[in-house]
Structure formats: structure tokens, C-alpha cells
């Protein structure tokens, strides 16, 4: 995953409100098709919520990894 080119980083660490999933929805809505987005979140819940939403709206979930004190979720806007 490290060699994948990230087009946009959404750093939602420390975001109580609107929170990481809302930041991701905002990012996906404004990105062009083909954009690879990484989301950074300190909330463990995001590791379940974000991939579930990405799949539900038919976008591509690529990967997820735990970093020091936060998680990194990578997806691609495909439509």
C-alpha cells in the first residue's frame, strides 16, 4: 500500500464533530473520479464505519492500517 499514490489526505484526527466519516463523505463528494483518498482517524469506530459506507455507496475500499495512535484508511472514487 505504501507505493500507492495518494491524491488527497483527509486528516480527521481530533475531529469530534463533524467527525471522520462526515469528513470522508465531504471529501468523496468533492473529488473527481479516479481520486485516491486517505483518511486519518483516531477513532477506532472509523475502521468499521468508513469501509462499510465506502462499500455501500459503491466506491472502492483499498486498505486500512493501524499507525501510532491512529488509523489510515485508503479508498478510490470510482464513479
Amino acid at each position: 500500500m505504501s507505493e500507492l499514490k495518494i491524491d488527497r489526505t483527509i486528516d480527521a484526527r481530533g475531529s469530534a464533530c463533524p467527525g471522520p466519516l462526515m469528513e470522508l463523505i465531504k471529501g468523496v463528494k468533492s473529488a473527481g473520479v479516479g481520486t485516491v483518498i486517505e483518511l486519518l482517524s483516531c477513532e477506532k469506530g472509523t475502521t468499521v464505519d468508513a469501509p462499510a459506507w465506502i462499500k455501500k455507496v459503491g466506491q472502492e475500499f483499498i486498505d486500512m492500517e493501524e499507525k501510532e495512535g491512529y488509523w489510515r484508511i485508503v479508498m478510490k472514487k470510482i464513479k
Binding site: 464533530c17 463523505i25 465531504k26 464505519d49 462499510a52 455507496v57
Partner: protein
């Protein structure tokens, strides 16, 4: 050498920052060592949280409007002349009339604006309460409403994250007052997988919704509105019919930001503690227009203004500043017509709503009047 401070945007953030600076740098303003110029795009200042009450006939439109000039310290120069280009490399803001405002320090406070046109069918099919005229139109539609399904739905991103929830609770009490609650279904929808962005607020709202008979659906992101058939369709592939639709439009930053190449969709890249625009140490950003992952709210704009005014004052008087923003946000949340709750949080402390009370509701009503003192930098 005179230090020139230019503030673009005369809403909550810009006005508080300007007035605090005028107070801190009073002596320097009198002596001509500092000049504060505010550039804004209209002569009136509107207290936006009042729109919620206008929709329910609880406040008259004229009660929430004041002249911007009257809110500003007399030593601040006001230019009602929209900024059309911000050139950070040459430290100049160019306005519609062609005037060039050169600065040593710039504060960007251009806020956010609703963009209903981003959702096909919005203009024809939906009501909202995020602008004066829309709030009055919704008030008129509610006055005529005699029953059916009212759907509340929420665009992303949007300012004041608690407003949709407040609207829903107040709608319940409004329908009850009008004796049409039993003929109405209130249907609340939300973009993420719970009732509100703040998890404790979401958990707190669930039993209250159930007790009041308010239906809800989550993971609901409106994509288009079919006004003819009165149906909302979502990114998630679902659809929902309505008799009256109240939809919070998605938001963008001011066009001048995008047009000046300062950030996509009008959100300015901002350092989360120093509130400086990335790469420009003399450019500060406050309020809705930052790209920070925090609530776009008047309280946020106010707390950021405190930091920016402090930083600029110290930089001018002492050469440096240690003041930093900790992510603080405070929100009163109406839970009906006679009770409210309250949350505060910052980058490190999660929110914990207090039990709703009449006292907190009165405090919110009180703040609706005290706002003008807040804008003047007194409160």
C-alpha cells in the same frame, strides 16, 4: 512604520476579531501606528442562528439584523465592497470597485455559503432555513401545513451541526402546539450511521426520538430531489417520499477563496493551532472558511477570533506570540420549545451533553439577544 491589518468578511469571526484588535491596539490606532480595514460584502450583519426561530414564528426577521457599521469600533475602517482577489504573494486584496488594499497582516473570515444548486431538484423540491428568505418561505409553508410526512435531511458539509436536530425537536413541539402532530409523521435522516456527528449526542437523542414518535434513517446522503413525485434519492441507492421536505443544503466557502487559488471548494488550508494559512505567516484564518475538521459554528469562529486577535496583538507589540487554538467548540442544543442541552469539546476532550433543562433553554434565548455584545467583543 504603520502596520496595516486587513480583515476580509464582516460576519461573526471578522467582526469579533476586528473589535478585539481595536481594543487591544487602541493606543496604536489613535497614534496612527496601526490601521484596521474591514472589507465586507453587505452593509447588514445577520445573526444566523435566528433563522431557526424565524421558521417557527418565534422571532421576527428584523430582530436579527443590525448595521455592520454600528457593531464595529469607530476606529475600524469599513469598506462594503466585496473582495474579488486575494494576492498573498504581493500582500494585497483587490475589491470589486478596483480598490487595492495592501496589508502587513491579513485575516480571512469569509465564512461559508449554501450551495443548494449542487443537488439536482433542490430549488424546486426542498425548503431550508439557512438563509433569511428561505427561512421565511419555510415559515409560510409550515403555517399552511395540515398534515403528512415531513422529511428532514442533511447535506454535507454544513455549518452548525446541531441545527438539524434542533429543528426536528422544535418541529415536534410546533406541530403539537398546532394540534396536527397526530396527522404528521416526522422523518429525520442523517448522513452517517447514527443520529448526530457527536456520538454522545446521538446516543442521547435515540430514546427521545422514540418517545416522541420521530422516525429516523441513517447513512442517508441526498443525491437528487424529484420535486414532481416528491421523492429524495440518496448516494446509498435508497429513496424516500415526502409531503414537505426540509433539507440542509451542502456548503462551500466563498468563491473569492477558490478564485484566488487558496483552497478547494473555498476551504482555506489552516494550521490547526496557529490558525495561519499554510505557507503565509502573515495570513490568519477564522471561522467557517478554515479547512479544519471541526464544527463550523459561531462559537468556533469566536474562540478562533480570540486567538487570532491575541496573536496579532502580541506580534505587533512584542514581535511574537504563544497563543494557540485548542479546538474549542461550544453549542447550546434546543431539545424542543422549552428545554435545551449544552455541549463543549476540543481537539482532546470529547463532548458530554448535560441533561436538558429549562434554564439552558433560557440561556440560549438569552444568548440570541446577547450576541450583539459578543460581536462587539464585550462578551
Amino acid at each position: 512604520m504603520t502596520k496595516r491589518i486587513v480583515i476580509v468578511g464582516g460576519g461573526t469571526g471578522g467582526t469579533v476579531t476586528a473589535n478585539l484588535l481595536a481594543r487591544n491596539l487602541y493606543r496604536q490606532l489613535i497614534d496612527g501606528k496601526v490601521v484596521i480595514n474591514m472589507i465586507t460584502d453587505k452593509p447588514d450583519h445577520v445573526y444566523q442562528p435566528g433563522f431557526l426561530y424565524i421558521a417557527f414564528d418565534k422571532i421576527r426577521p428584523d430582530e436579527i439584523v443590525r448595521k455592520q457599521r454600528e457593531l464595529l469600533d469607530p476606529h475600524i475602517n469599513l469598506f462594503v465592497d466585496p473582495a474579488v482577489r486575494i494576492d498573498r504573494d504581493n500582500n494585497v486584496v483587490i475589491t470589486k470597485s478596483g480598490k487595492e488594499h495592501h496589508y502587513d497582516y491579513l485575516v480571512i473570515a469569509t465564512g461559508s455559503k449554501v450551495v443548494p444548486e449542487e443537488i439536482p431538484g433542490f430549488r424546486e423540491g426542498a425548503h431550508h432555513f439557512y438563509e433569511m428568505e428561505a427561512a421565511k418561505k419555510l415559515r409560510d409553508a409550515l403555517r399552511k401545513f395540515e398534515g403528512g410526512r415531513i422529511v428532514v435531511t442533511v447535506g454535507v458539509p454544513h455549518k452548525c451541526p446541531v441545527a438539524p436536530l434542533e429543528f426536528t425537536f422544535m418541529l415536534h413541539d410546533y406541530l403539537k402546539e398546532r394540534d396536527i402532530l397526530d396527522k404528521t409523521e416526522i422523518y429525520y435522516t442523517y448522513p452517517i450511521n447514527r443520529l448526530h456527528a457527536l456520538e454522545p449526542v446521538a446516543n442521547w437523542a435515540v430514546p427521545r426520538f422514540e418517545q416522541k414518535g420521530i422516525k429516523y434513517e441513517t447513512l442517508f446522503n441526498m443525491e437528487e430531489i424529484d420535486a414532481r413525485n416528491k421523492v429524495v434519492r440518496t448516494m446509498e441507492g435508497t429513496e424516500l417520499s415526502y409531503d414537505l421536505l426540509v433539507a440542509i443544503p451542502p456548503h462551500k466557502g466563498a468563491p473569492v477563496i477558490q478564485e484566488s487559488g487558496m483552497g478547494s471548494d473555498g476551504w482555506v488550508t489552516t494550521d490547526r493551532k496557529l490558525l495561519r494559512n499554510a505557507g503565509y505567516d502573515n495570513v490568519y484564518v477564522v471561522g467557517d472558511t478554515t479547512d479544519l475538521p471541526i464544527s463550523k459554528a459561531g462559537s468556533t469562529a469566536h474562540f478562533q477570533s480570540d486567538v487570532v486577535a491575541e496573536r496579532l496583538t502580541s506580534e505587533i507589540l512584542e514581535g511574537e506570540s504563544s497563543s494557540e487554538y485548542d479546538g474549542k467548540v461550544v453549542c447550546f442544543v434546543e431539545t424542543g420549545f422549552d428545554e435545551a442541552t449544552y455541549v463543549w469539546f476540543n481537539y482532546k476532550t470529547p463532548p458530554k451533553p448535560t441533561p436538558p433543562s429549562r434554564m439552558l433553554h433560557w440561556m440560549k434565548l438569552g444568548y440570541n439577544r446577547l450576541y450583539w455584545l459578543s460581536a462587539k467583543g464585550v462578551l
